[in-house]
C-alpha cells in the first residue's frame, strides 16, 4: 500500500475523498476502484447511465453500504463510515434517490427524527431554526403537514431541509431534480450556488446534462462502475455550456451529436378530419386526503396525435391518469374510446379495448418486484393465450416472448428469472414500455415516462413514444419536464388543481404560453 499522498484524490483540502473504492453485489461490480475528491465550495456533479454505480457510491458515503475494498478519507483521515448516524456525525447529509421520510409523521417530526430518545421533541427550537434556513434558501415548508399529504417535490425540499438542519458540511443530492418543475430546478440550482458559497461541499447526481453544466463546478462520469473521466473546476470554468456537454457526451457515450437533448420534433401528420380516438368530457373525481380531485376535464386526442399534460407535480396528473385507466372512481363525465363510452368499464376491460396506462410508479404498482422479469412483461395479460392456455401457464411461450421483448427493448437484465426489482429504474421502465405497447394498443397514457432515466434511455423512450403516435395511436403524455413536452407533443394542456386551465398548440411561442399558464396567467 503506497503512502497516502501518492493516492490520487487524497488532497488535503478534500472534505471527503475516495481511494480505490470497490463495491460488489452478487453478480456485479457496482463500483470498481473509484477515486473521487469532494471539496468545500464545489458542486461535484456525478453523471452516469442507469446502473452506473452512482447510488451505490452514495450508499457508501452515507453509511448504508460498506466498501469491499479501498478506503474513504474524511478530512484527510481514513475513516470507516459505519452507519448513517456516523455519516451524519461526520457532517455528511444525503437526500436519497428514493424518498426517505416517514409518511405518517408530520414534516416537523421527520426533521426531528434522530434526537436523543428520552427528550421531548423540540419543536419550538426547530421552528426557529427552520425559519432561518428557509429564509436564507428562499423556500417555504409546511412544518405541520403530514408528509403523506405533500407532493413529491415538496417532500424533496423537506429532505434537503433536513440535511441543512443537521449542519451538513457535505450535501449529497441523488437525482433530486427529477421530480421538480423547471422553476424548481432553477431554484435548486440557485440554492446550491448559495450553499457552496457558504463553504459547503455538494455532490449532485443528475441525468440532465444541462443541469450538470449549469450548476456544477466539477464533473465525474461513471460508467459500468468505473470512473471514466473527470472535468476539474479549472477546465470547467474555461468551457462554455455546449462544450461541457459535448465533453460529457464524449466521456459517456463516445462521439455523438452535439446536443443530444435537442431532439428534433418528428413531423407527424395528424389528420384534422379524423375522428378522435379518445374523447374526455367533463370528467370529475372527488378529492381524497392527500390528492386533489378532478373537475370538468375535457379534451380529445386524434389518431397519431400526442397531447401533453403540463403542470406542477401534484396538481392531479396522477388522478387524471388513474381516472382514465379506471383505477380511480369518477364522479361524473364521460370517456369515449373510438366513440364508445368506457367510463363504466373496469381497468381490465378498458385495457382490452386498447386503452393502456404506463404508470409513473414503477415499483409501487407497475411491477411485482419479487417476480421475475419475464412474468412482469405479462402482468396485465394473466390468463390470456398464448401465454396461458386453459388457465395453465405456458412457460416456453412466456420465455420466448419475454426474450424477444428483452432484445427488442434492450432490457439489461442478468436473466429472465431475475426479480424485476433488482433491475435499475431505467430497465424496469423498459419492461413497462414493452408491456403497454403490446398488441392491441389504441390509446396510451404515459405518466412521466422518462422520470429518472439516463440520457440514452430517455431518448430511446421518447423515440418509442413518437413512434407509437406515428403508428396512428393516440398518446396522452403527462410530464413535469417542459422540454420533453415541447419536443414531442402536438398540443399541450396545462393542469392546475385538478382542472385543465388551457390548451396550447405546440408552435413557436408555446414555451412562453405554457409557462404563463403554469404560473396562473392567461396564455
Amino acid at each position: 500500500m503506497g503512502s497516502l499522498s501518492s493516492l490520487p484524490g487524497a488532497d488535503t483540502c478534500d472534505i471527503v475523498a475516495l481511494a480505490g473504492v470497490t463495491k460488489r453485489f452478487p453478480g456485479i461490480v457496482a463500483n470498481d476502484s473509484i477515486d473521487l475528491s469532494i471539496r468545500p465550495g464545489e458542486v461535484h456533479v456525478l453523471l452516469g447511465e442507469n446502473g452506473a454505480g452512482k447510488s451505490t457510491l452514495i450508499g457508501m458515503l452515507s453509511g448504508l453500504l460498506q466498501p469491499d475494498e479501498g478506503r474513504i478519507l474524511v478530512d484527510g483521515k481514513v475513516t470507516q463510515i459505519t452507519s448513517p448516524r456516523h455519516a451524519l456525525a461526520l457532517g455528511i447529509g444525503t437526500v436519497f434517490q428514493h424518498m426517505m421520510l416517514v409518511p405518517a409523521l408530520s414534516v416537523a417530526e421527520n426533521l426531528l427524527l434522530g434526537g436523543p430518545w428520552w427528550q421531548r421533541p423540540r419543536i419550538e427550537a426547530l421552528e426557529a431554526r427552520v425559519a432561518k434556513i428557509t429564509r436564507s434558501l428562499g423556500i417555504t415548508v409546511k412544518l405541520h403537514a403530514r408528509v403523506s399529504e405533500l407532493s413529491l417535490g415538496e417532500q424533496q425540499q423537506v429532505e434537503i431541509l433536513r440535511a441543512m438542519v443537521r449542519n451538513s458540511r457535505l450535501l449529497i443530492l441523488d437525482e433530486s431534480t427529477s421530480m421538480l418543475t423547471p422553476k424548481g430546478i432553477d431554484e435548486l440550482g440557485t440554492l446550491m450556488r448559495r450553499l457552496v458559497k457558504q463553504g459547503l461541499a455538494i455532490v449532485f447526481i443528475t441525468h440532465k446534462l444541462k443541469e450538470a453544466a449549469a450548476f456544477g463546478d466539477r464533473i465525474s462520469v461513471l460508467k459500468l462502475g468505473r470512473k471514466v473521466g473527470e472535468i476539474p473546476p479549472e477546465r470547467f470554468r474555461a468551457l462554455g455550456e455546449q462544450e461541457i456537454i459535448s465533453q460529457i457526451v464524449d466521456l459517456m457515450f463516445g462521439k455523438q451529436k452535439d446536443d443530444p437533448e435537442a431532439v428534433e420534433r418528428p413531423i407527424r401528420k395528424v389528420s384534422v378530419e379524423a375522428a378522435p380516438l379518445l374523447q374526455v368530457t367533463d370528467l370529475a373525481a372527488a378529492p381524497t386526503d392527500n390528492a386533489p380531485g378532478l373537475s370538468s376535464i375535457s379534451f380529445d386526442i386524434r389518431p397519431g396525435e400526442i397531447l401533453g399534460i403540463a403542470g406542477i407535480d401534484g396538481n392531479g396528473q396522477k388522478q387524471l391518469a388513474e381516472a382514465l385507466a379506471g383505477q380511480r372512481v369518477t364522479t361524473g363525465g364521460s370517456v369515449r374510446l373510438e366513440g364508445t363510452a368506457i367510463e363504466m368499464l373496469s381497468v381490465g376491460e378498458r385495457r382490452q379495448r386498447g386503452l393502456r396506462y404506463l404508470t409513473d410508479d414503477r415499483l409501487g404498482e407497475g411491477t411485482v418486484g419479487t417476480f421475475p422479469v419475464s412474468i412482469n412483461f405479462f402482468l396485465k395479460q394473466v390468463g390470456a393465450p398464448p401465454f396461458w392456455r386453459n388457465g395453465f401457464e405456458q412457460r416456453a411461450e412466456i420465455d420466448k416472448r419475454a426474450a424477444q421483448l428483452v432484445r427488442e427493448y434492450d432490457v439489461r437484465t442478468p436473466s429472465l428469472k431475475t426479480p424485476v426489482a433488482r433491475l435499475s429504474g431505467g430497465n424496469i421502465q423498459k419492461v413497462l414500455l414493452a408491456r403497454e405497447l403490446a398488441e392491441g394498443a389504441k390509446v396510451v397514457i404515459f405518466n412521466k415516462p422518462t422520470y429518472g432515466l439516463d440520457l440514452a434511455n430517455t431518448l430511446a423512450s421518447r423515440q418509442r413514444i413518437c413512434a407509437t403516435a406515428a403508428r396512428g395511436l393516440a398518446v396522452l403524455l403527462i410530464s413535469t419536464d417542459l422540454e420533453e413536452l415541447l419536443s414531442m407533443c402536438d398540443r399541450i394542456a396545462v393542469i392546475a388543481s385538478g382542472a385543465l386551465v388551457g390548451t396550447v398548440e405546440n408552435v413557436d411561442d408555446a414555451r412562453t404560453r405554457v409557462g404563463r399558464l403554469m404560473i396562473g396567467l392567461a396564455a
Binding site: 455519516a87 421520510l101 416517514v102 427524527l113 434522530g114 430518545w117 427528550q119 421531548r120 421533541p121
Partner: protein
C-alpha cells in the same frame, strides 16, 4: 334477587373484572409497542408463561410479591431476547419464531412445574391491597377500583406513561418510524435494530409482568397453561387499539367486564350456556368492526425484518 346484588357482590364482581383485565392490559400494551416498531410479536403468549412461572417462583421462594414481579418481567425479557435476536437482529420470520416460542414455553413451564410443584401445588398468601383513602369508601366503585395491589395502579399509570411516550418523546417518534418506514429512521441516524430490540424487550417485560400478575395475584399459584390464551387476546387488543394505549385499557376492561358479567348472570340464575356468554365480547368487537371497521392502520413495515441497504 335484588338481595343477591349487594354492594359487596357488585364490588367483588368489578374487582374481579379489573383483576382479569390487568394481564390483558399489560400484554396488550406490550404487543402494541412491538407492533408500533414493526414487529408482530406472536410469541407473547410464551413470554407471559415465562413471566408467570418465574414470577411465581420468585415470589414463592422470596416471599415478596415485588420480587416476583421482577423475576416475572425478567422471564418475559429472557424470551423476548431470543425473539429480538432471531427476528430483529437476523431477520427470521416473526410468525415462525413467535409460534415456536409460544409452543416451547408452554412445554417448558409445564415440564418445570411437573418436576417442581406438581405434588405440593404451593399457593401464595393474599396479595395485600393498597387501599386508597376516601376513594375506596365509595360504594361498589371503591372496592372495585381502589383496593388493589399497588401494581394495578402502576399498570394503569403505565397506560398514560405509554401515551406520553408515544406522543411527546423522541423515542415515540423513533418507534413509529421503525414501524412505518425503517429506512427513513436509519438514515436519520437512529439504529433501527436497536429501536426494535428495545421495543421487543419492553414487550417481554410487560408480558412477563402480566404473566406474573396472573400467577401471583390473579391465581395465587402457577399451573401449566395458566395464561389460557391471554397473550393472543393481547394481540387482538393491540391491533384494535391502533396504537393508542388508552384503547388497550378500554378493550382489556371490556373483556374483564364481560367475564364478570358471565358470573353475574349465573349468580342471578339466568340460564344461558356459558359458551354463548363467552362469545359476547368477541361478538361485540366483531360487530363494531363490521359497523365501523375502516382501514385498520397498521404500521406499513409490520412483520418485515429490516436490513440496511436492501430493497
Amino acid at each position: 334477587m335484588t338481595g343477591l346484588f349487594s354492594e359487596v357482590f357488585l364490588g367483588a364482581l368489578m374487582f374481579g373484572a379489573v383483576t382479569a383485565a390487568i394481564p390483558l392490559l399489560l400484554a396488550g400494551l406490550g404487543e402494541q409497542m412491538s407492533e408500533k416498531a414493526g414487529v408482530l410479536n406472536i410469541g407473547i403468549e410464551g413470554m407471559m408463561l415465562a413471566g408467570a412461572y418465574l414470577g411465581f417462583v420468585g415470589a414463592f421462594y422470596s416471599g415478596s410479591l415485588w420480587l416476583g414481579f421482577l423475576t416475572g418481567a425478567a422471564g418475559g425479557v429472557a424470551v423476548a431476547l431470543i425473539m429480538a435476536l432471531l427476528c430483529v437482529r437476523i431477520g427470521l420470520n416473526q410468525i415462525v419464531i413467535g409460534i415456536a416460542l409460544t409452543l416451547g414455553l408452554e412445554g417448558l413451564t409445564a415440564l418445570l412445574h411437573h418436576f417442581q410443584f406438581s405434588r405440593s401445588y404451593p399457593r401464595l398468601p393474599a396479595a395485600n391491597a393498597t387501599v386508597i383513602p376516601l376513594l375506596s369508601d365509595i360504594p361498589v366503585i371503591g372496592p372495585a377500583f381502589f383496593k388493589h395491589h399497588l401494581i394495578v395502579y402502576l399498570a394503569l399509570a403505565l397506560v398514560f406513561g405509554m401515551r406520553y411516550l408515544y406522543r411527546h418523546t423522541q423515542l415515540g417518534l423513533n418507534l413509529q418510524a421503525a414501524g412505518d418506514k425503517p429506512a427513513a429512521l436509519d438514515v436519520a441516524g437512529i439504529d433501527v435494530i436497536k429501536t426494535r430490540t428495545i421495543a421487543v424487550l419492553t414487550t417481554g417485560a410487560l408480558a412477563g409482568l402480566g404473566g406474573a400478575y396472573l400467577a401471583n395475584v390473579g391465581a395465587g399459584l402457577f399451573i401449566p397453561f395458566i395464561s389460557n390464551g391471554a397473550g393472543f387476546l393481547g394481540i387482538v387488543l393491540a391491533m384494535l387499539a391502533r396504537g393508542r394505549p388508552v384503547w388497550v385499557l378500554f378493550g382489556a376492561l371490556l373483556f374483564g367486564v364481560c367475564l364478570s358479567l358471565t358470573t353475574a348472570m349465573q349468580v342471578a340464575g339466568i340460564n344461558i350456556p356459558t359458551d354463548v356468554i363467552q362469545m359476547l365480547p368477541f361478538l361485540a368487537v366483531m360487530i363494531m368492526l363490521v359497523l365501523f371497521g375502516r382501514r385498520a392502520s397498521l404500521p406499513a413495515a409490520l412483520g418485515i425484518p429490516y436490513e440496511r441497504g436492501t430493497r
